[in-house]
Symmetry: none
Subunit: 409 residues, 2 copies
């Protein structure tokens, strides 16, 4: 079954608010195996809403709208849905009584404009609003259905879960399940090229790559009669992808890189400390993102100045003079220094040129050294990151965490 | 002039990500006096994108797309724009050279799939991508124009500001100028309530509030014949707003809180060090965001464990035992300790409960103490932040920076 989501509201059209309703509905419809090929936003304008219904029903059988159920004359989604199906609006006594209750509890009386919230297209299913005054409704005719939901998420989401979801279950006979593989250390395009044939050759499940904050994700999505069948379709494709990408696949679903690392450290009872120059606290901050990290994360040092590298980490002045602050030698002494002074099993360090100033021909902006000391054994990598100061720092942070992960594997 | 926004991407259609690009573009187009009556979302599907262009151009003369500029065969927005106007794709040497540069700096070579990012519809205006590999473009023919932007906001927003905004200015005969006031320490709704009458009473300039990463912004936008006239309209409204909000207005335009603080520190030749517990490196990271901070920012310490607070900062064990790690007393000793051990004029500290675990009735999740020591004089604030772990840490970071700013004023 195909559906479309139409958000009605001038405040979305003008960019006053973000259209989070459409995201919520898209996700939930996907859970029911309902495909969405189109979403749109229109203002509170009768003819435009009517035209949108007409256009959308050329492509699908189910429309879900949000917004335009308020008491003002501006609000007309329900009225236009009735007009589309040529159904009169009729008073729903129970909804009127609920409205009167709400208003009397607020110490007021129902105004004429509020009464319109108790009128519905004849023969529709009424969706109670447990969190506001405007009920929704489901209007159907000739195999075409419009589900009319209110705009505010705190009203629309529970109405969907409590009254629309059970209705949708009766319409579909398949489920959609998906699994996300999280990939690090490969750019989106390099990752895609390694699995291009799998992406292109897959119909059920489908495989789609995307980028997210310096990481790459691959979503495998299957349609089947049951959840178990769906995961059964996903498993062999996941297997093939993992063969190609090896240990660049660090996790699945919502699992973060720091959660994976924290798990590895906690399993082996290894403690860690971090000495950051160019990343300036981002690595510590990422690790601290994981609740419960305090068992293994002992200390972070942001040693941005040379003096701090000497005083805090015991980096030798001669090393800084001979090789510079941005060098493999300094990165190694930083990693060993933080591990020693913090008394941890592992020391991780970064030093680099995040820009926009400070680059040279020998040491351009984007050059970053990452040092790692695990139980006295030190190693480093040299990286050249493209992008802005922000992106270079983010990429250095991810590369440092990934170096640690790979060494722990 | 009417425009439409078309977001291209299966990840939006499936609800994997929120369509924030359309909100950004809707706002910015409104700033140019361009009306939006329709927005839509389509997947990475050639025929559907083509149909969307055809439908949209029945209603408007300008289409702005985001997404579908990546290196994979899935990405085809630019190709479909070329097809719509029956223009061939031609190689743009400068873009190819830039791509080759980026890849050689990364230590790789350009793959065949990446080369497609250097091909553009013949005769188009090319929009450089200063933050990624995919340039955008502006394709026009017979009074109809498609502006093609990349999907990631960090690439699309600067491309819009730097290359699309100047182009849009040439299309309209009036100029729209705007000024953003940056506000900290007041929530968006508290800020809005203080200036509600100004927001509602303003037509030209208009005043619009919005929230951004824990801060609040007020955009004042005027339409006039010349830029000078526009700023002339803005000045008295800005004056009225500043009277209401006082020193909660910390800056204007793109000026960041860390840039304002770095400027104050550098002007007065004051050095700073930071000791973080619950914020875990976020304050250091924010300060290091400002290039040139190394003159005044000496050192950061992420002392997440009690042991690190004792060893690194000299917090007394008796203080931790008596008052707990999350207490005003610990925050004050942390601030004084980091200033003393790093030899800086200023020490700034945070300690709190970011959750989701670790809260109690006396010390609930969201309780954060911020300590500040300036030239030996210490002070603290106690905060109770709502929200998730992430949001509590972000709010604590901003509150700490704002405390420092206000003490320096």
């Amino acid at each position: 079954m195909n559906a479309e989501i139409i958000a009605v509201g001038t405040e979305i059209l003008l960019g006053d608010i973000v259209n989070t309703n459409s995201q919520f509905l898209a996700r939930r419809l996907a859970d029911f195996g309902i495909s969405i090929f189109h979403q749109s936003v229109v203002g509170d304008n009768g003819p435009r809403i009517l035209k949108e219904f007409t256009d959308a029903f050329k492509r699908c059988d189910l429309i879900i709208t949000t917004g335009g159920l308020g008491p003002t004359t501006d609000d007309m989604t329900k009225e236009i849905a009735a007009e589309f199906f040529s159904k009169p609006l009729v008073l729903h006594q129970e909804s009127l009584r609920k409205l009167e209750d709400i208003f009397s509890r607020r110490g007021g009386t129902l105004s004429e404009s509020n009464r319109k919230q108790a009128y519905f297209p004849e023969g529709c299913i009424i969706l109670p609003n447990d969190h506001g005054t405007a009920p929704g409704c489901i209007v159907s005719e000739g195999g075409k259905t419009i589900v009319v939901l209110p705009g505010p998420p705190r009203e629309a989401y529970p109405m969907f879960e409590n009254y629309v979801a059970p209705y949708l279950k009766t319409l579909t006979d398949s489920v959609i399940v998906s699994k996300v593989l999280r990939v690090v250390g490969l750019g989106e395009s390099l990752m895609a090229s390694k699995v291009q044939d799998i992406i292109e050759g897959s119909e059920n499940p489908t495989v789609a790559p995307y980028a997210k904050q310096g990481e790459s994700l691959l979503r495998i999505t299957a349609k089947a009669e049951t959840e178990a069948d769906g995961y059964g379709l996903i498993a062999p494709v996941e297997e093939r992808i993992r063969e190609r990408l090896g240990n660049a696949v660090y996790g699945t679903g919502d699992e973060s890189l720091e959660a994976v690392i924290a798990g590895m450290l906690m399993d082996r009872n290894l403690t860690i400390s971090v000495a950051e120059s160019c990343t300036g606290g981002m690595i510590s901050s990422r690790l601290v993102d994981f609740p419960g990290i305090s068992e293994v994360f002992m200390e972070g040092a942001v040693t941005y100045s040379n003096q701090a590298k000497i005083n805090r980490l015991g980096v030798k002045r001669s090393t800084l003079d001979k090789f510079g602050a941005v060098s493999a030698e300094t990165a190694l002494e930083m990693a060993a220094g933080i591990a020693r002074t913090s008394g941890t099993d592992i020391g991780l360090s970064t030093t680099g040129i995040a820009g926009p100033e400070g680059g040279s021909i020998e040491k351009p902006v984007g050059l970053v050294y990452i040092g790692l000391c695990i139980c006295g054994k030190t190693t480093f990598i040299e990286c050249n990151f493209p992008g802005t100061r922000d992106m270079i720092r983010l990429r250095a942070t991810i590369a440092a965490l990934d170096l640690l992960r790979k060494e722990l594997l």
